[in-house]
């Protein structure tokens, strides 16, 4: 049985006819891999994550997650059925839900929601915040909550889009170490997108460079 979690074949995408954002990209990520895509702003790395997440439909090529074709130019499996996670820079926490409810949001009803949520609260050292609302906690704490929320449904692949870029340098240093530890403990498969090479080196085992919609 193949160990591949993500397979991208000849993927191309553009929002208009003149500007090709993604150009014939191929990528394979195996289970437990931790891969970083490094590149400047506007190189297409965030678009690539949106395509993998199913938030955009590609113009050409295929995306295969855990052996199932999920995106082609003709059809697209909606994001809610892909079993992947995405953490973005702006965190996108639900402002009307407490930290606890944010984390538990994506857990299916027939699964032990309480245990999973409490485990993640403890793992990410945010159990004291569980009854607080997003606007009552700091940026670093919000990022931990966003991460816990993405880990809660146990995604096959967790994608991180510049997750720490809005945080200050000291906080970043602490979070890199702690979150790498979390990923190791949970055996997560990670695809990180960043422009920070130090972040990529600490958080992942393999780094790829991207420019103008292509891997170098």
């Amino acid at each position: 049985m193949s160990n591949l979690i993500l397979e991208i074949k000849n993927l191309s995408h553009s929002y208009d006819e003149t500007n090709q954002i993604i150009q014939n990209i191929n990528l394979e990520i195996e289970k437990l891999d931790r891969v970083a895509i490094l590149g400047p702003s506007g190189c297409g790395k965030s678009t690539l994550l949106r395509l993998i997440a199913g938030l955009e439909k590609p113009n050409l090529g295929q995306i295969i997650i855990d052996g199932t074709v999920v995106s082609t130019e003709k059809f697209i499996v909606p994001p809610e059925k892909r079993k992947i996670g995405l953490v973005v820079q702006e965190k996108a926490l639900f402002p009307h839900l407490s930290v606890y409810d944010n984390i538990g949001f994506g857990i299916k009803k027939n699964i032990d929601k309480k245990t999973i949520t409490n485990d993640l609260l403890e793992l990410l050292k945010i159990d004291s915040l569980k009854n607080k609302y997003p606007h009552e906690i700091s940026g670093g704490e919000q990022q931990r909550v966003a991460l816990a929320r993405s880990l809660a449904p146990n995604p096959k692949l967790l994608m991180l889009d510049e997750p720490f870029s809005a945080l200050d340098k000291d906080l970043k240093g602490v979070l890199y170490e702690e979150i790498s530890q979390v990923f190791s403990e949970r055996g997560s498969t990670i695809l990180l997108v960043t422009h920070d090479s130090q972040e990529a080196e600490i958080m992942t085992k393999k780094q790829m460079k991207m420019e103008k919609g292509q891997f170098l």
């Binding site: 949106r50 997440a53 809610e80 702006e90 996108a92 639900f94 009307h96 949001f105 994506g106 929320r149």
Partner: protein
């Protein structure tokens, strides 16, 4: 039907329902023309057209000057009461024109309260008449002008606030005084915005039935009503309604174009808000009077007269009829409010979930009902209900015709735009990344709508329900025509009392309408108070 197709097809389905009564009305132009039409054409159509034109021109000019001058005064000068005037200038919006018309006749008729008061003070004979009659087209122009000028005031004020200090200063350096700056520079710059507001006023004026009926002025709306209820000729009434609808359509397009042209404001990075000039002495008094006058005529005066009537027969507030009509009005308005808010939520969600150009265009068309006069909507709705009764309930007696259902649908079409504007701005505050996160975490469209968007939109939903409610409470012509037999609302009750010249009894329902009409004013005044940018010291 899968979910995606539900979201794509919903705006289509709603558009069909919303436009059906209008298309029915317009289709009458291609039908037979009866003898009544020839009679109307020969004897009264010219009056309808000329009166409507005089009304529209008079009201247009009046609101343009009232709206822009007051807006200029409160944005550029600091004088005692300025901060209060800034929001109080929209208070007349709470008074429907027909209620101002009723209070005007109560005040200025030969034996009205204003004439009586002056005669008493000056010790004059009973046959001395101080104030001229208001039961004419000039009275109607005054009524519409002083209740509807806030439409122009609101857009002008916001446009004046956005005018740059450096631009005004440059014109002063070139030798223009404050008055010259106003009419040579500031006014031409905000003209597209003010004209847009003026078009809204004109549409409201053309749509009115209660005020022109009370003053016995022959306009399109009174003509439609009389043709239908006097000559019992629905076909000719629809043909008249079509002409009015086309006229309103022209003003609707003009209003949209005015908005499209935008306001020639400074949007560059060097923009700095205009500095206010502090006024004192006579100049402060003059500015104060300019702002007080429209509020006095459009709000304080009718409130005083209504209060006077209410104190004379305060028992009317507690009679069974008042309570029954209040409950009818409340039930209808809250029902319409909830349906409109729910519908606007679903439509805006479909726009977000399926943002195609076609759906965007269709959704913008759904707001057209706001511009359509209630009377035309009612005429079309009656025909639609009759058609549906024949089609669906052909074996039974009439089911939908004359039922509350037709009235409710007409209200929804008429007020959807209000609910939509609130929901639309509520949605603008929800980041798209919230939607992305919720979908990636496994939410279906319905889960996202109910568990994420609905709780985040609580305030927008409540606002839209209240805005719709306040408009439904005021609506007169559609209610008058579509209401079930023996069913009265506060507006209908006010109209019936006023048409029987029982003004004292009309006070209780009229005051209730004004109180509900104050709800959107409170929201607007809050926005106004928080909208002024910090000025340089």
């Amino acid at each position: 039907m899968n979910r995606l197709s539900f979201w794509s097809s919903l705006p289509f389905a709603v558009l069909i329902v919303f436009t059906a009564p209008l298309l029915i009305v317009l289709s009458s132009l291609f039908g037979d023309y009866s003898e009544n039409w020839s009679h109307l054409y020969e004897f009264v159509l010219f009056n309808y057209i000329s009166n409507s034109l005089i009304l529209v021109a008079g009201v247009g000019v009046l609101v343009f000057f009232l709206g822009t001058i007051t807006a200029w005064t409160v944005t550029n000068f600091n004088f005692p009461g300025r901060n209060t005037f800034e929001w109080a200038l929209i208070l007349p919006l709470a008074i429907p024109p027909y209620i101002l018309a009723y209070t005007f006749t109560g005040l200025f008729d030969p034996y009205g309260d204003a004439n009586n008061l002056i005669r008493e003070i000056l010790g004059l004979d009973q046959d001395v008449i101080i104030f001229p009659s208001v039961r004419n087209i000039y009275g109607a122009i005054t009524v519409f002008g002083f209740t509807l000028y806030p439409y122009v005031y609101l857009v002008s004020r916001s446009a004046f606030i956005n005018q740059s200090k450096s631009m005004i200063e440059a014109s002063r350096m070139l030798g223009l005084n404050q008055i010259q700056v106003f009419y040579k520079l500031a006014l031409p710059i905000i003209r597209p915005a003010a004209v847009g507001g003026m078009m809204l006023v004109i549409m409201e004026t053309l749509s009115d039935f209660g005020a022109v009926d009370h003053f016995a002025i022959e306009t399109f709306t009174t003509g439609i009503f009389r043709t239908w209820y006097g000559l019992y000729d629905l076909q000719t009434a629809m043909q008249l309604a079509s002409l009015l609808l086309i006229t309103v359509g022209v003003f609707y397009i003009l209003e949209k174009n005015s908005r499209g042209n935008g306001i020639y404001t400074s949007s560059n990075s060097t923009f700095s808000p205009n500095k206010e000039e502090v006024l004192s002495g006579f100049r402060a008094f003059f500015a104060f009077s300019i702002c007080l006058l429209p509020i006095f005529i459009g709000f304080i005066l009718p409130i005083l007269e209504l209060s006077l009537w209410a104190f004379e027969v305060n028992i009317a507030f507690f009679n069974e009829k008042f309570f029954k009509n209040s409950i009818n009005t409340f039930t209808l308005s809250i029902g319409t409010g909830l349906i409109c808010a729910g519908l606007a939520l679903l439509i805006n969600f479909s726009l977000r979930f399926k943002p195609t150009k076609l759906i965007k265009r269709l959704s913008s068309l759904l707001s057209i009902g706001y511009a359509v006069p209630g009377l035309i909507l009612a005429v079309g709705m009656v025909q639609l209900m009759v058609g549906l009764d024949n089609l669906i309930f052909s074996n039974l007696d009439i089911v939908l015709t004359g039922s509350i259902f037709g009235l409710l649908v007409a209200y929804i079409i008429k007020t959807y735009a209000l609910a939509n504007s609130s929901i639309e701005s509520g949605y603008e505050r929800i980041s798209n990344s919230i939607d992305d996160s919720s979908r990636i975490l496994g939410s279906t469209s319905w889960v996202m709508l109910f568990n994420i968007h609905t709780p985040l939109m609580k305030t927008a939903l409540l606002t839209s329900v209240l805005l719709v409610m306040s408009d439904v409470v005021k609506e007169l012509p559609a209610t008058l025509i579509l209401r079930p037999f023996n069913f009265e609302t506060l507006a209908v009750s006010t109209y019936i009392y006023a048409s029987e010249e029982r003004m004292l009894q009309a006070a209780a329902p009229a005051i209730a309408i004004v109180l509900v009409g104050l709800i959107p004013i409170i929201f607007l005044s809050k926005m106004i108070r928080s909208s002024r940018p910090a000025t340089e010291k």
